[in-house]
Amino acid sequence: MTELEAGRVRTLVPARNGAVLQRYRDVLIALIAFAVLASLPLFTGSKALLDFVIRCSAYGLFATSLNLLVGYTGLTSFGHGMFFGLGAYSFGLIMQKLGVPIPVAFVATLAITAVIAAVIGAICVRLKDIYFAFVTLAFQMLIHSTILSWASFTGGDQGLRGGIPRPAFLGINLANHVHLYVASCALLILGLLAMRQIAQSPFGYTLRMIRDNAARASFLGIDVWRAKLTVFVLAALFAAMGGMVMALFVSGAYPEFAYWTISGEGIFINMLGGVSTFLGPMVGTVLLLLLNDTVTRFTEYHGIVLGVVILFFALGLRKGLLDFVAEWFSHRRNTGEGR
């Protein structure tokens, strides 16, 4: 080995370890987070707190998957909520009509979502900016009105009534509140871990290139359309996961799950928490649900309060909460180095 080669190996090894270490660190954080969340029922008997975490899981999966589109790829979808609704309805209908084990219905729902997202995505991702936003919104409305008008199948505006059967599998009984809670936390953590992997993979950096400058990316040999379609389908899968958690939680599915306001809340959450960090949408989810729950307790005009809050973040901070914190830290570190 020449001296030059030796030098190259020395610089390579720590670099390779860096990427692997980062992955171990993420898994470690996920394990700790899961351990903390899963042990919560041991310390508190509060059903309301556990319910809150389950709702955070459903919305958190949904909002974080939206950030894969908005924050990482620069695709602002106004119709991402359709996959949340699709997940809830597919899962509920499969369980009600076919009575298969829950894991089978889970996988089948993901498969159905993937096919529908691929078809809708193939049409949408060719479009840019506002056109993409509005065509995704149009598809959302299409799915919503299909649910409303196909009453014999979907229950129409009444939703899926009669409860979703939740037979036990592998010793897990989702009809039991604590079991459902732990399963929701597990799905949330696994989903976040998988999305983190996507964001930090070579594909994740391809998405960032497309966000910054799609034309230049294509001059590097990247098939922009295919990359956008791939992330559109992947994001839809995680949104459907969120929808399934929601369907399990309320033991039903309702047209509101597929209404455009769900997409609006997803955008709102991303604005609240911030799109420049991976966990921004998760922070936004907790903030929004906290706000929703506290404000509705005090006033029926909670829309006004939420509107003021979003104006504060959009016009005051001009970024989400976690964006703000991350910038503050990097600013502090830079000035520290300068000294």
Partner: protein
């Protein structure tokens, strides 16, 4: 060898590229000059797939690439840098290079591994050293100086290890001193990398000094081709394009 055969493109009634045929032998360095609106950038856009030619062929080692998409043409080995630095503003210099190598190695869709892939490092490192960007590897592209952004743009094209490198005004928007540094860099790259380089340039001093071969475009047509001396003494070129400038330089 890059061969252009009867390439044509019109916008409405304007013939932006009008029956252009040119040969660029392997390892050649060619300057493309011409007054504003001569069709220089259009010529590049046709070769790289940004525009679809109305007719004609773009042959790289005998394969016709005319009308194919930019990604397909890049993968055949024609890289380009842009007149206005065309970069990824939120990525660091190093991330930009590593991601570009990933794209070239067909691993830009890999999901199950972490970025960056170890096998992308050497090439990224090599090109950063080559263009003097290694010391700025952790700078975000948007915070680089104008000159460094242009270098990063060229680095993006170069890191794909193209057979042919097209540089659309590498010195655009630079001061006189910076221009010479950039063009020395271009010449150095051409000499060390042994690739075919074609560049568009406005500064005549630069063109006559470094380009062994010059192509003059005017109204979408080739007005003349030849060595700097031939071009300098070509009456059609002097009349159409250089006359006034040379008179000014002589005075």
């Amino acid at each position: 060898m890059l061969e252009i055969r009867n390439l044509a493109k019109s916008f409405g009634g304007v013939k932006a590229t009008n029956d252009v045929s040119l040969d660029f032998p392997d390892g050649s360095l060619t300057a493309v000059i011409g007054p504003n609106g001569a069709g220089k950038s259009t010529f590049f856009n046709l070769i790289t797939g940004a525009l679809r030619p109305d007719s004609g062929q773009v042959l790289l080692d005998g394969v016709d690439l005319a009308g194919r998409s930019p990604p397909a043409i890049v993968r055949h080995g024609i890289g380009r840098a842009f007149q206005v630095a065309n970069i990824f503003k939120s990525l660091t210099v190093q991330e930009t290079m590593l991601a570009a190598v990933s794209a070239d190695q067909r691993s830009s869709a890999v999901l199950h591994k972490r970025f960056p892939l170890p096998e992308t490092r050497d090439r990224a490192e090599h090109v950063m050293e080559l263009l003097g960007l290694a010391g700025k590897r952790n700078r975000t592209a948007a915070t680089l100086s104008h000159g460094d952004q242009k270098l990063l743009d060229i680095a993006l094209a170069l890191v794909l290890e193209p057979k042919v490198l097209l540089l659309d005004e590498p010195t655009a928007g630079m001061g006189p001193e910076e221009r010479w540094r950039m063009i020395d860099k271009v010449r150095e790259l051409w000499e060390t990398q042994k690739i075919t380089v074609v560049f568009i340039e406005h500064d005549m001093d630069i063109v006559f000094k470094i380009a062994p071969k010059i192509v003059v475009l005017c109204y979408g047509r080739i007005l003349a081709t030849g060595t700097p001396d031939e071009i300098r003494n070509n009456s059609a070129v002097i009349e159409a394009y250089l006359g006034t400038e040379h008179a000014g330089a002589a005075a």
